[in-house]
Amino acid sequence: MTGLPLIPFLILFPFCVGATLFCIQNMEVRKVIAYVSSSLIILADFILLFAWLAMGARPVTMYFETAFVDRVMLAAELGLMVLVVFLCFKYRKYWISLLSIIPTCMILWIELYVPKAEGGGKIYLDHLSILMCLIVGIIGGLIIVYGAGYMDGYHQHRSDVPDRRRYFFMLLFFFLGAMFGFVLSESLLWIDFFWECTSICSFLLIGYTREPEAINNSFRALWMNLFGGLCLAIGIWQFVTHTGSVSLHELIAVGVAGRAVAVIPVVLIAVAALTKSAQLPFSTWLIGAMVAPTPSSALLHSATMVKAGIYILFRLAPAMQGTLTGMMISLIGGFTFIITSIMAIAQSDGKKVLAFSTISNLGLMVACAGMGRMETIWAGVFLMIFHAISKSLLFQDVGATENSLHSRDIEDMHGLLYILPKLAIFMFIGIAGMFLAPFGMLIAKWSAFKASVDSGNVMMVFFIAFGSATTSLYWTKWMGKLISQSHIREKKFEDITKRNEMISLSIHAALMILLCLLFPLLSRVYVNPLLTEMFGAAHDVLPQSVLYVLVLIIIIVLAVPVISYNYVKNYRTNRKLSYMNGINEGDNRFFIDSFGDPKRLWLSNYYFPGRIGQRKLMVPGQLFAMTILIVMMIMIIGGVVA
């Protein structure tokens, strides 16, 4: 197989569109181009899927002769380095530039001076990379559609921020292009290049507003991700100098075979993936990324960036199974899962809750990858799919709510169902998808649970048992806020959500419900073949009969409220005031205080920031994770060297 023209299209097209968008002044034209190109990307995704299915749905390696492209990439990598160094000096963060210079020089050296086996394929197509393409393309494309409407509202409500929308959309498209490149690449050098691209794109996106906080946070994201890039580069350098190969699958094969040469590259690449996936101790950059406008955080959290780390870990999973590296990764993932889900309880800022829950869910996926068994990857893949959709939906929805409500605090969403009904319903669906039985995430969590019991991983069993309890607490209390009767009825909020935002939200919600219903099918038709490619054999972790029962329960769970609603609709009842010791003033919103004056009732959820907040737990968590990381790295690397 020499090539499929769709692949260069998928990678290059977003870059071209991004560059074009940057040059166009007219906003309407820009929007049209953004819509058309997002649709084209999604379309190309599907064509790729079907073309590949038509080819027999087998893993394919292609693009063997790419000397010219390699040179271009090298030049681009140098360009990126110059950009980073320039920005680091501009903002006086001199030391960060080293994290860019060193890996770039290493890659340069590998490219130019290290003898390599020539003619390896550069692009690899299989179930996993196609799945990633679909996630990146569909979710990413929809986020851009949403972003086109969102940014209007954003600049309306944040008039203090300079309008750099051209630049913003350019970066979004670049990001998609880089992600496509990343998940499709087979050559480790290509992977490294696209890796650096995503790091820098996310850095620029986080710093969009150019406020001091944004700049600070963006540099934090930059150094953490560049540190990951450094690990990756060292890993690649180790592998290339020892074997002369730059193929990812070569690396995995060597790793599965248990040869010592693969140990150090695998562990370094896995650590790099931890930084991308914002695991402890590298979690803070993702929380800081919240300062950026919503479309970029939605993109970072759901479809791109953090999923890049998960993707590479899934790739490495067979090589990590049963090794010390796998143990380290699963330990850090499981620990991150529980500790960040506890921290999420203490957050009342909607976006922060989402950020913590992203880290927490990623922790679970990382742990699944670290255990490296067929069953855990099955669970991990489903976690990834459902998480991408739900999270993207939730982020977009919180963003749209913020534009209309001028706040993203969960406490201010009290009674959102009566203020902004559409957005509240979407939010409800998104949250239900995140944790409520029997929707997707829960099923995936369940299978992760079962798989960790099967693999005898006691630590993970505890992490999941306690972590899922804490997870449901913060989601449930958020849901409760949405449906409570409103305290504020006198103030009217206008729903300024644009139509394109609504389109994106509706597609997400529909997609999520559909995927929940198609769960067994998805498992049999797509995920099992994916695992067969990876492990040579696959079966459902939860038997198909259980899956069908689950679908039946989903239908019941969806139907019961409808039936009881219809039953209750015609139910005659008498409205009473709520109980406030008889001093309720009129309509449940006021009571009479001790001076005899009406006082507004204000209800709040429990948060306990003093006890389990970010300030309290983040540093100990980071220290603990760092200790695990350092001690186990010493053990692993020392074990190989000695």
């Binding site: 505890f462 607490l473 029962v549 329960i553 709520s578």
Partner: protein, 288 residues
């Protein structure tokens, strides 16, 4: 066919059994306090009266949520007695509990909101023990399927005493018994007015009450599952165990004062970690 019979029996009999259990509970509690106590059928009189009263509500959607809660609770029990996956039963139960939470917060009433916030903490407190109990069954029997667990030859209790202790411990929370009746309390106790049920009057309270009966019968079934096996005698043993556990809960209820939620969370998680955790480790060692 057999399964259908069991499910039907559960749906029809559970409220009767649950009501009777509650009647016995109140009677025994009264005797422990040297009172005569209400008649055995008192819970039924109460529910009938509640159903007869004028329909009132603070928020019209409350009835809707409570009805959903009831149906989910029935579904949970039906799935359990029908012999499906035990983990799935508990997942549906937690969804049911979520609907109860919704039924309460939807009113935006101060007492109900405090009660429901505490209910959430209770849910968080008992969930690990519940999940670990399921893992215990899985490790001992090699399956999550209730029917297969029930007809196997093993005596589960002998291999999983730690899980059983943790489960009985959280049963106090689930059955809303003192010292853990934080979110709402039964009749003779009172906490933050009526906590999560504060705004439920008349029919709504009746719905809540009936759901609770279904829930108790389900939970007692799980207790029984610890001893039920292929031998027919085990059913009698299960009934004795259920009676003993129920009596223990009543005793705890009548001899302890309510705790703060922090203490509840700490103690329960420690008990869960220690008893279920040690048991889990031991089982894993045997397993591997």
């Amino acid at each position: 066919m057999n399964m259908m019979m069991r499910v039907a029996a559960y749906i029809v009999l559970a409220p009767i059994v649950g009501g009777l259990l509650q009647g016995i509970d109140r009677k025994i509690s009264a005797r422990m306090q040297r009172r005569v106590g209400p008649p055995l059928l008192q819970p039924f009189y109460d529910v009938i009266k509640l159903l007869k009263k004028q329909a009132i509500t603070v928020s019209t959607s409350q009835t809707f949520f409570l009805l959903t809660y009831l149906i989910m609770m029935v579904l949970t029990g039906a799935m359990f007695y029908g012999g499906t996956d035990i983990l799935m039963c508990f997942f549906v139960m937690s969804t049911a509990a979520t609907f109860l939470y919704f039924a309460s917060v939807v009113t935006s009433s101060p007492y109900a909101t405090i009660g429901s916030n505490r209910e959430l903490i209770q849910m968080m407190t008992y969930e690990p023990a519940v999940l670990l109990a399921c893992v215990g069954f899985y490790l001992v029997e090699g399956t999550f399927n209730v029917e297969e667990i029930a007809i196997s030859d093993k005596l589960d209790l002998a291999l999983m005493p730690g899980f059983f202790i943790a489960f009985v411990f959280i049963l106090t929370i689930k059955m809303r018994k003192s010292p853990f009746d934080l979110s709402t309390s039964h009749h003779m106790h009172q906490e933050i007015v009526k906590g999560i049920t504060t705004e439920m009057g008349a029919q709504n309270l009746a719905l809540f009450q009936i759901s609770e009966w279904y829930e108790n019968v389900f939970l007692m079934g799980v207790v029984g599952l610890y001893v039920v096996n292929s031998s027919p005698l085990s059913v009698i043993a299960a009934l004795i165990l259920i009676a003993a556990v129920y009596f223990l809960e009543i005793l705890i209820d009548n001899t302890s004062a309510r705790m703060k939620w922090e203490s509840m969370l700490k103690i329960t998680w420690i008990v869960t970690l220690l008893s279920a955790g040690v048991n889990l480790l031991a089982l894993m060692l045997i397993h591997i």
